[in-house]
Symmetry: D2
Subunit: 352 residues, 4 copies
């Protein structure tokens, strides 16, 4: 085997950063060469994430202290908060244009910088770079990703909703004006910041919706659903928080077009993913549970008929930190660096 | 104060039985005179539910050993499994016709015995009694309940969905053919029976849907929604299980009719419950959390606009064991025995 | 009934504050006249704790804005952070000497101000008031509490450990040099402050010890155990965090003296609490679970023999927010205001 | 690489069976050739554990239907209930003497068949085989295990307690008569059987001890501690249940001998495990959390001084399904089949 690719993780003190490190540690083709975390700079990774105590890892660095040229990185994962990434990517590409980047934030997901400004309330900080960014839903954009320098890794909710819906929209098999996505996420989706509403006793033993009627993830859904359908698509989407760490489950209500019943929709989805390593379609009428994909890069999809004729209920489940973030990011990395797509991502789910 | 009413709880070894006992213990107008539990007969309640160790309670009895005449009960709660209750109620009313009964099972909820047979797969065992049963959703049938001898206490999911939707259907304010109810319940809704799928490690740290496309609660929804709307109504309904003990949250997607927006729907609901002690409508755009009604008889309802014009998202939350079962049963008892409706039900929610 | 006593709660935005409000709302002899919360001043209580949405409660006030004379309070609960309370109590008593105070912090628990300085790292801010403070473990100091103006409400861990051990130490029935207390607490014991180590994903699905070998609660244990034993007692004490909201369980390892076996120890504890309303001793060999006292003011105690001759294992359980904090505080209030001790504290535990 | 070793898993429908399958699926030197589960015979593994849906695995077989000769297995894991294994192992070794066996039950852990009969209440069913069994605590018996045909995989609690204590007992560094082990386990340690006390609502949001004063794991501790100390050792041991899936944490109270302080004990343990791949000793005064070893084969050990002079508090943590059961079983398999010991066990912990 040739020498290993040198990888950097920016924002290694957050959950998606830790998940990247977890997966990269057993990836046979890479070495972790750089870890940054501004607020925890100069600490060891084990102080921030004790699970890594037995491992030799680079000390956490402040972004400002990185010498990008000397670092000689092949690829960088950006697991930074939204809005800061645009500037960081611009800076890095200015210094080391050859480095490849997988960005886990939302900063480069919207191709239309005007849409970005509308949803995020400020101008895009790197519009000139946006054009190079490829949207990293591998099952759809695999070919582009292989050639990309900058990949915008999709959001967790949106990956979970897109995977089952895109084949149906492309096939014009469902009414694009009657899609309701009721999504539920574990708490790691909210990150690791210390906010009152995130402390254990505010979250355990209860359930609630948030961002009702308006949530930034909608912009990403609008873009991809509209591309797939070939016309503007606006869906109803409500996120909820489940007292669990990992997992997203989307319950999706659709109406078939031109007499397509639930079984037809199931067949379409099953066919679309027949050869995909990370999308598994359950037998008709079976629906997935988030716990059965925990810690793996798998998405499970199920389809059942509604009792109302012509309607179907689709349920998809993934681990928001893995296929919903860091696992998919490594899937992108594998393509960008020319490795087999599943390298380092073959862990079976951890259940129970 | 006159002497206390004598109360029996049939099926006291289940969770709704325990919740009845919890609430009755501090109810100033009643005494617990009989507790039955066939499989735990002759045990003390503290052996079955150690939280009652400090309390003097009747020993658990087998149903077959009860002398109904000698017991001299004023009211009996049936917290028995579905399907056995019809026979039990028939037996009791045959021996002591004056006793009042609140049944927490589904056995007397469907006025149409043919519908019952269709949904439950067997003939109704007491069709001659069904006609006397009053559906116990207090906020709707208060007047009938006061005069009833037999009250069919509503289901937990259905109470949570009916309270916000009934005023809208009555006012013909929403399209009755486009209602999607995505409901999430804590585990006590599944009862206390020992099944593999209910053990801790199968339930914690995960989320899933069940009964997708077909669930018996639909029959109850059909009946009440159709009554309210004055025409046949069939809704889409999906239940899910949340890794928590108590609580139901229903996220309900509706489309306003005749230009009614979310704010109009909110106003209709708020007006309908302005004087109700156990339904609290939050300010427009705010949505409830299950944890904030835990252990209380309250239902919290919120309404927010969807980003799709003309659509609204309604969220309601209650404690499935209290307003969703035993609290509502005591609310019914209070009416049937002539007590003030809120007697014994004034506990504030237990949060955190 | 005479007019209701006017009660203030200082620090109403924390969990012990909310628990006081929960219990006071159904207490028949008091009215909540003042709620303070500096960081949430001028907000409604429902904004801070939505479970109180249906209740009329005073708006939250900043401490500095309270006019103590005009407020005309009969009793004040201080649920403020440690170290600030000494100054606050001094200020209040300076302005309204007749007001009675129950302090839920540790600020007045140590009779010896030198010990306070040693454990807390700073001089006591109100040493002249310390002498008036009565330690509020009702089962031990009931008589003094009735006459007290200032009661220092015991800590949650220490209440759980003291109740079973004090009768044994007083009777010289156990070796005071061989006591090991392994204590486990739910997360509400850590309060409501937003710290990284308290967020859901850092706490759920795991278990850990903290403060190993050194924890401030030890000072309170030392004081009360030494008083009871009539000699200096130093115990081994390790606190742990359980992924649950409420509850403390202490597993206590002791060695009987002069041939006292576990059964003798059980008899001593059972006799000591035979008439106590809030301490329930289980039958010999049975041990309690925290869930069976949830939301109630009860402490459950069990004793079992160790397999090593002469040693016993004692297990006690209480709800850290109720008997471990706010419930015990109201028990103290009842005594101080001349109400029956159990008034407003008769809720049965909430299980499941 | 030579052809892969053929592996059987008996009892594949339980949690340790599933954990074996999870780990074996990515083990490069083996193939899963046989899965048995009597009650689920003829079902697919995905029906019993949906997380394996994407994998090709043998159909579940009844034990009675296995043709041991034809199966040609190299090694069999027995993950069967206690007491049935002795007969099964006898049967298998009778038919295919060359097959190697790792037994995860307690059936072959006690070298003394009389002690077995005393603790388990019945005669040993295969005393003639017991003598061949090697106790599979790899860090202690590595040399014997390499030559063994039958390995008795240690218990989860006992592994967690033995790893830190054995080096101290061997060095006579602690008083063997004053050891208190307060252990806490996640729910998967109780297996997958459907019992009322294991359902979610009986376990979540609470904490309790069980088997107080008497627990079968003590026999295993007695045997190994006595071997290490060179004299009879009897410890105090109390197990507790934590509302979490995976993890065991043992808080161990010891007294140093001959002036050995906590720091000396820490040094002894650290030295003993300096080269062990699966035991990590934290810096002095730091203690581990179960969540930081989740899903990995690591044991983390910490030592802190008690405030009582001469006493120390040791905390060790492992994942009961991995190092506490199936991971350690595979570690044993690696040695028995001549693979590098860490093969297939290099997954980093899954946190959060």
């Amino acid at each position: 085997m040739a020498s290993k690719a040198k990888i950097g993780v920016l924002g290694a003190s957050g959950y998606t950063g830790a998940e990247l490190v977890r997966l990269l540690l057993t990836h046979p083709r890479v070495e972790i060469a750089l870890l940054t975390a501004d607020r925890r700079a100069n600490q060891e990774m084990r102080e921030v994430f004790p699970q890594f105590s037995p491992y030799a890892l680079p000390r956490l660095t402040a972004m400002a202290d990185v010498d990008w040229l000397a670092a000689g990185l092949d690829l960088v994962f950006c697991a930074l908060p939204h809005a800061t990434t645009q500037k960081v990517v611009k800076l890095i590409l200015g210094q080391v244009p050859a480095v490849k980047i997988v960005d886990l934030s939302a900063d480069f997901r919207l191709a239309d910088v005007a849409a970005y400004a509308r949803w995020y309330g400020h101008e895009h900080h790197a519009p000139e770079i946006q054009g190079q960014a490829v949207y990293g839903l591998v099952e759809v954009y695999r070919r582009d990703i292989k050639r990309a320098h900058l990949v915008a890794n999709p959001g967790c909710y949106t990956t979970c909703a897109q995977l089952p819906l895109l084949p149906l929209l492309k096939a014009k098999a469902i009414d694009p004006d009657e899609i309701v996505i009721d999504a539920k996420s574990g708490m790691t989706g909210a990150g690791r910041s210390a906010k009152e509403e995130m402390i254990f006793s505010e979250v355990s033993e209860g359930f609630h919706a948030y961002g009702v009627g308006h949530h930034r993830h909608m912009a990403e859904l609008d873009q991809e659903f509209s591309r797939a359908a070939g016309r503007a698509v606006t869906v109803t989407f409500t996120p909820h928080l489940v007292p669990m760490n990992r997992g997203i489950l989307a319950t999706i209500y659709v109406r078939g077009r031109r007499g397509r019943g639930a079984e037809d929709l199931h067949a379409l989805i099953a066919k679309a993913y027949a050869r995909e390593p990370f999308v598994h379609v359950l037998p008709f009428r079976q629906v997935p549970q988030t716990r059965h994909v925990r810690g793996s890069n798998m998405t499970f999809v199920g389809v059942a008929p509604d009792r109302i004729d012509g309607r179907a209920i689709i349920v998809s489940a993934l681990d928001n930190l893995t296929k919903g973030a860091s696992g998919q990011a490594i899937q992108n990395m594998n393509l960008m660096l020319g490795f087999p797509e599943t390298t380092g991502l073959n862990q079976a789910p951890l259940f129970p």
